[in-house]
Amino acid sequence: MNRIALLFLGLFAALAASWTGVILVNQGSVGRLARVVDANEGLAFPQPMPGLAEQGHLVYQDLGCAACHTQQVRRPGFGIDDKRGWGDRHSVARDYILEPRVLIGSHRIGPDLRNVGQRKDGQEGRDGREWHYRHLYDPQLTSPGSVMPSFRFLFETRKIVGEPSPKAIQGLLPASSQPPAGYEIVPTVRAERLVSYLLSLKDSYAYPEAANVYVAKSETQGGAAAEGAKK
């Protein structure tokens, strides 16, 4: 019977130890990270998502976008995320502290989306919105050969009643995708939210900890030598 008590006790101790070591310790440090106040800008970072984007985050979550897209930029030299233009810097823990559901993802069947808002911002029509609508409506329009499925169900083909909607997107689509005369294709509220979310994705602020990267010895020595030479 003693050995059984030992078994139960041992199991509990092992569980408690791993729980403490992996979760509790980190909850006390990483779990308590706060926003950084930048006196220069008079703002705290990370900034909260705009309301529409926060609702779009739920659309991103429920459509399972994270099955193919990560949201974590790896540091330069570890993979080539930087060379792919997926972010100016690697992601740090503080980037995520305001997000209700952190979807860093584990598969890269599509590109990393952590800074997709930065990539499309101000480009390709209406701050990138049009690009995203076309892409969601039919990925082949913007990215021929892509294996991303179409999200046509986020758009509505409806009869034009009175004035055509300013949001209508059929003008962006090729002839083959045009609705019948008198009809228009408009993004649903969910599509608008999703695109707002995607456009809000940009980790531009350089936190001090983002500089905590290893610099190879030869580089620092080289730098020191150069400084010495200047003197």
């Binding site: 199991l11 092992a14 559901r101 598969h107 590109p111």
Partner: protein, 486 residues
């Protein structure tokens, strides 16, 4: 009583009455598992097909890739995996305690709730209520049902363990107790910290990997290894080789295993030390793998010539190989140099396939093929389907793992390496994905093969259950234990 020299697993008189008492819950969980298995692998086929033909079913929001993938994973884990594990736990616990199952109907009631929860959860995921947390995809309300249903099954199993007759606790029982105690802890903690009141920032992925890793290593690993030890001894009629080492492996797994989860977060924005610690701890699992190998391989190899033709033996042998390969591979894949190239790629999917299918599912098949004839007192109605199931599972799993590994390697090189030459720019992602299309197509074919095998399994099992029920129901007296309990 079978003669001991027959080398096949014989059943004593006591065993027969224990087996009969497992009939109702055992058959229920086995049948539920088989149904979910077919559903889950059908979803796998859809998901796999979408990877090379994105237009397939694209207009149906409920079947968009992200949701199908999440539902597939949840159905296979909580539908197939847990039901099969419950059947194995009940049977092994009862047999090793040499105690008849009391109140089998309550187990079935719990099981009904469990399966309702899984059904509700899978429909919820397809309807867009999923949590998007890998390994815990079900909507919040489902987890409560699952926990309540699980609690009774686990309490029952632990009570049976307490009522055991033999003073010796066989190594399978250790692993079963490990599985039964560990799961409710990690499940409830993960539910609280991820779904009810989510922790902040990257604590979420950290809790998620801790949970997903524990779920696999301790629940599925625990039940699977318990079944392996039991079947290795029973199928060969010999004791476990180097048996005294088995507890060493057990304790090393328990003490070090739970820390290894964060090793999957290499390169992620979690503190570097957590990942380094996980990698260091996962190295110790190599010793555990050695212990499993020393225990199981010689035991099974010794009787290979005699029982090689038995279906369950074949499943178990494949399961052992997959377990050892997958554990070593997961240690290797967590090393930073390897993860830099292969993280986020289909190689990870291949490893999951090897773990969940090659190891756990194969062992579960092997156990069910031994267990169901014992508890029903019947033989498989269509023996040829058993062989078909084995070969389709083996070939399907092998093809899938190989195809995904090659696809993942090519994907990793394309994703994470610059092409040769000066001023080279990264290969566009679309080109990388296009270049692995043939392997993804192979993966789809492999999944179709698996579905075929699983349908064969379901047909065989359903036929047997139907025959069993029709013979039992008119004359309840033929089922003395069930009637006594009711």
């Amino acid at each position: 009583m079978a003669s001991p020299s027959s080398q096949t697993s014989s059943v004593g008189v006591e065993g027969a009455s224990v087996d009969a008492s497992v009939r109702l819950p055992g058959l229920y969980f086995a049948a539920a598992a088989a149904v979910w298995l077919v559903v889950g692998t059908a979803l796998s086929v859809i998901a796999a097909f979408k990877l090379h033909s994105p237009a397939f079913l694209a207009d149906c929001e409920w079947l968009t890739y992200g949701r199908v993938r999440a539902a597939e994973s949840a159905v296979l884990t909580y539908g197939w995996g847990f039901n099969a594990a419950f059947a194995i736990v009940i049977w092994l616990m009862a047999r090793l305690a040499q105690a008849e199952v009391r109140r089998p109907v309550t187990l079935v009631v719990s099981g009904v709730f469990w399966n309702l929860g899984v059904l509700l959860g899978s429909v919820g995921i397809l309807g867009g209520h999923g949590t998007a947390v890998e390994g815990l995809e079900f909507p919040a309300y489902v987890n409560v049902i699952l926990f309540a249903a699980y609690a009774w099954i686990a309490i029952w199993a632990l009570l049976t363990f307490r009522a055991r007759r033999s003073p010796h606790v066989f190594i399978s029982q250790w692993y079963l107790v490990l599985a039964l105690l560990w799961f409710p802890w990690v499940f409830s903690l993960a539910h609280l910290l991820l779904v009810v009141d989510p922790v902040k920032g990257v604590m979420q992925p950290l809790v998620q990997t801790w949970y997903a890793h524990s779920l696999f290593l301790f629940w599925f690993g625990g039940v699977g290894v318990a079944a392996l030890y039991y079947l290795a001894a029973k199928l060969t009629g010999r004791s476990i080789a180097h048996y005294h080492l088995s507890t060493l492996g057990f304790w090393l797994l328990v003490i070090f295993g739970a820390w290894a989860g964060p090793a999957r977060l290499v390169g992620a924005p979690v503190p570097a030390w957590v990942v380094s610690l996980g990698i260091a701890m996962s190295m110790v699992l190599l010793v555990v793998v050695c212990v499993w190998a020393f225990n199981l391989v010689p035991t099974l190899a010794r009787a290979a010539a005699v029982v090689r033709q038995e279906a369950s033996y074949r499943f178990v042998a494949v399961g052992v190989v997959a377990l050892l390969v997958a554990q070593v591979a997961s240690v290797l894949l967590s090393f930073r140099g390897v993860a830099e190239l292969l993280q986020f790629t289909f190689v990870q999917s291949a490893l999951t396939q090897l773990n969940h299918y090659g190891f756990f599912s194969m062992v579960a098949f092997g156990t069910l093929y031994v267990m169901v004839p014992r508890i029903t007192g019947r033989s498989w109605p269509v023996p040829s389907l058993v062989g078909f199931h084995f070969w389709s599972s083996l070939l399907g799993c092998l093809a899938s793992v190989v195809a995904l590994s090659i696809a993942g390697y090519k994907q990793g090189v394309g994703l994470n390496r610059l092409p040769m030459g000066d001023g080279a720019v990264p290969t566009p992602l679309i080109d990388v994905l296009q270049s692995i299309q043939p392997y993804l197509f192979t993966q789809t074919s492999a999944m179709v093969l698996l579905v075929a095998g699983h349908v064969a399994f379901l047909v065989n099992l359903g036929w047997m259950a139907a025959g069993c029920c029709s013979s039992c129901l008119p004359a309840p007296s033929s089922l003395p234990n069930a009637s006594k309990a009711a």
